[in-house]
Amino acid sequence: MSQTSQLPRMAAALLALLGLLDATYLSLERLTGGVLACPVGGGCEVVQASAYSVLLGIPVAYIGMAGYAALLVVALRSLHDDYLLNIPVIPLLVGLSTIGVLFSAYLVYLQFFVIYAICFWCMVSATFQLCIWLIALYEWRQERLEAQAAAH
């Protein structure tokens, strides 16, 4: 286990939990709201009502929930163990968060250049993804530096 500070991994887990809550909120909004009224300045209602809010038949908000749940599990595991199901946990976090950050970048692109409406909570999610990805990269680098130091 890493001897360095656990704070970045804790931050990653906290961000994944916040992201999970955010995605849950968007999923429930999608299920319950949107049909009866459009709030003033409500970009989420436009984005969620657009054709781009569904990917391969699955609402993007649900995909977000699944993604954040996976990130939360991996980030929590990284606090206690170096492996999850025999997969090195930090490279796993890097891999998952890279997918997440690329997906978020695509969604941000859609909001700015295709739908022409900005959904605040979608942008918050993209920010969380970016932060988790940066933390994962930092932790990966730390792990490799430690391995190098141990080899010497």
Partner: protein, 230 residues
């Protein structure tokens, strides 16, 4: 070796402490988050508010029903809003049959194109151009029914002209009305008036300065009718 072990167990102990406070933090975030989400999803959106100053109604607004009806309902709506389409296509017909055609209510349509809907202003202009030819309500229905087609279209005017043609309107006059942006300023000042009237969502129905949602409309009209007959 012994000192190494002790060091390790100390570290483990302190780590355990920081872990438990971390998990408490996660638990608090989870509980607060779930409470906020449940509150926001379950609580009905607050819409009923009294306007300090009832906005003076623009007499050029399209309306339906007896001008001297005991109750006037002003609908603030946006042609690109799915909620407004839902009202127009699911509830409006029976409302008009029960209240407007019976002379109880005068229904006024007040544009409130929302900023997040890129084609809401041109759609409102198209409806007013159809109004010139006496077909506001038919065009409004057409726009709501075809929201998905023109809503994200970069050049919605072409579709609006096609709708006008389909409805049998004078195509040249309609096209010119759109191209000249004849009603752009009227639509934009209606938007300003809606903002000043503190309308927070569309559709909003205003009766005697009070705001109601589409779900509250019928009960509110019944109350206003009862008050008016007293």
């Amino acid at each position: 070796m012994a000192s190494h072990n002790r060091k390790r167990s100390n570290r483990r102990k302190s780590r355990k402490n920081s872990f438990s406070s971390f998990y408490i933090l996660l638990g608090v975030v989870l509980v607060v988050g779930v409470a906020l989400i449940a509150g926001s999803i379950l609580s009905p959106k607050q819409t009923v508010a009294v306007n300090a100053v009832p906005a003076e109604l623009d007499p050029t607004l399209p309306s339906k029903g007896d001008p001297n009806a005991p109750v006037t309902v002003v609908e603030y709506a946006d042609f690109q809003c799915p909620g407004c389409a839902n009202f127009a296509l699911q509830m409006q017909e029976s409302f008009i049959r029960d209240y407007v055609d019976t002379g109880k209510v005068r229904l006024v349509y007040h544009d409130f194109p929302l900023s997040q809907h890129r084609n809401a202003v041109p759609a409102a202009e198209a409806a007013r151009c159809a109004n010139e030819q006496g077909e506001f309500w038919q065009m409004s229905k057409m726009l709501f029914a075809n929201q998905a087609a023109w809503g994200t279209n970069a050049q919605p005017n072409g579709l609006f002209v096609a709708y006008a043609e389909q409805m049998g309107l004078d195509k040249a006059a309609f096209e010119k009305c759109l191209a000249d942006k004849t009603y752009r300023n009227q639509v934009l000042s209606a938007q300003q008036a809606a903002i000043q009237a503190n309308i927070m969502q569309t559709p909003t129905f205003v009766i005697n300065g009070q705001q109601y949602t589409s779900g509250e409309l019928r009960a509110a009209v019944d109350r206003a009718l009862a008050e008016a007959s007293n």
